[in-house]
Symmetry: C2
Subunit: 294 residues, 2 copies
């Protein structure tokens, strides 16, 4: 992954999907005097993002995208924001630059889903661009270590946090999910293909029907990156919706990997957690030795 | 755990909950010339079981239970079949023998859910009885190794099987769940507090909405015991319902731990699997060394 120091002085292209994150990144880059251009993804980028974008391009306009990158002198590429609609082949059959690269693109996109983003990275790198991540250009947006909101975890919460953290590490070793929930000294839910939100909802359901028992608010959601996760394009993220779900599941708090996870809409997220009495903690990933003993 | 050889010549008390398993065990014990008595749990045991039972006792009749064990000379106890209703304190406040032991029982039942059965075992052991499991008295009912039905796994299925098996081992190390599903070279679901059935249903839902993609029937459910699981009372089990759910989730097959898991209603279960084109495999648990390398 690129060295932070080497990103100074290079113009960054923000290829922006949905959500408020692209604008937050733009603010952070502006704040640190970085030079950048925003390319809004058609049908994905929010209005706010589109208003700040230099251009707007659809999936089939890869030729135009590369032309834009060349014309504007962007050397680094940052892929940021959500993508709600996976591009299908019809939308990819676009301009000449796309068609020219189609064999490469098809080769790259074939295969397992989970490495799709890694393959997209390679597509840019093959054209001589460098793909950077939030960690490289705006590390201040990542979760810091320690208690981040107003609430403090209690003794039982720390125990649940440790357990769920250990579970996410095991999950990570198998390249499965990023998140786990422990309640009352027991890991009760592990993230698979359903994603973090659905996993928290399941936990809420299990509490409702009494398959997870707890007195009052109890349990901790931990979200951490997988060991081999490419944090340039796939950063573990929590946001206001995560807090909302954690509250409805009756959890005591959430913990995310310090320096390796993002709190989207940080202010609002922490405010919601505070007012709901939920703690938010940034945890350092234990070293392998630390993880080995029980 | 008791040595199999030492169970010969001892009279066994089958304390029987619901399902057809108690009768299957009874048949197996009869077949091998074992001496036993059936005690049906009131409100739980099936009619078939009740018809063969020497007595029927409710949760509050622990005094009567011990009297029965003493009178009939039972030395070993086998807890078998499901319990749909957890006993509450009202139903426990029963006969004098129960009341006398109440402080011990309450002490034993307090604490985490998952070790409840271990605590029940201790209650029997404290009175001088030995708790045995299916492995000890009817090992022929456990899954054997190899392909058990008519369908054979294909190359991709073996890969998914390996992946899901590895995942159950990681789960087991953390004492979480017994089951995992891999589809298309990726672990997509891990069992937590929701149980195996709910996990398979989740997998079906994720396939329906396209979060798990597969061509035709694909994916393998693996169910294996946790390393510290007390197989006397908590044997991983699959049955006709498991097959039904696996079919509706579009899985290619299921694998269970050979010698460490049970196929309930074996004939019907395998028949259903065969007619649905689902494979059923008994897998040996890999040794730790085998599990370490990827």
């Amino acid at each position: 992954m690129p060295d932070l120091a080497q990103t100074q002085g290079r113009r960054i292209a923000l290829i922006a999907g949905n959500g408020s994150l692209p604008c937050q990144i733009a603010d952070a880059l502006s704040g640190s005097g970085r030079d950048f251009r925003i390319i809004a993804i058609k049908g994905e980028a929010d209005e706010q993002t589109r208003n700040r974008a230099s251009t707007e391009l659809g999936w089939g306009e890869i030729g135009r995208l590369y032309k834009f990158l060349k014309k504007t002198g962007c050397q680094d590429v940052l892929l940021i924001g959500g993508v709600s609609k996976r591009p299908d082949f019809t939308s990819i059959l676009g301009d000449f630059g796309t068609l020219k690269r189609l064999p490469t693109i098809i080769r790259a996109l074939a295969g397992g889903d989970d490495s799709l983003l890694t393959k997209v990275i390679r597509l840019f790198e093959d054209e001589g661009y460098r793909v950077v991540g939030i960690r490289d250009v705006a590390p201040q947006l990542l979760a810091s270590s320690g208690v981040l909101g107003k609430m403090q975890p209690k003794t039982d919460d720390w125990r649940d946090l440790e357990l769920a953290l250990k579970a996410t590490q095991k999950l990570g070793e198998l390249d499965i999910g990023q998140a786990a929930i422990a309640v009352g000294g027991r890991v009760v839910a592990l993230e698979g293909a359903e994603g973090t939100d659905a996993m928290i909802e399941r936990c809420a359901d299990l509490k409702r029907v009494g398959r997870i028992r707890s007195k009052g608010r109890a349990g901790v959601l931990v979200k951490a990156a997988k060991p081999d996760q490419d944090l340039r394009v796939d950063l573990p993220t929590v946001g206001p919706r995560t807090i909302e779900l954690a509250v409805s599941a009756g959890l005591a708090g959430i913990a995310i990997e310090a320096h390796g996870a993002l709190i989207a809409e940080k202010e609002e997220t922490l405010q919601r957690a505070d007012s709901a009495g939920l703690f938010v903690v940034g945890v350092e990933k234990p070293s392998d030795e630390g993880a080995a003993d029980g």
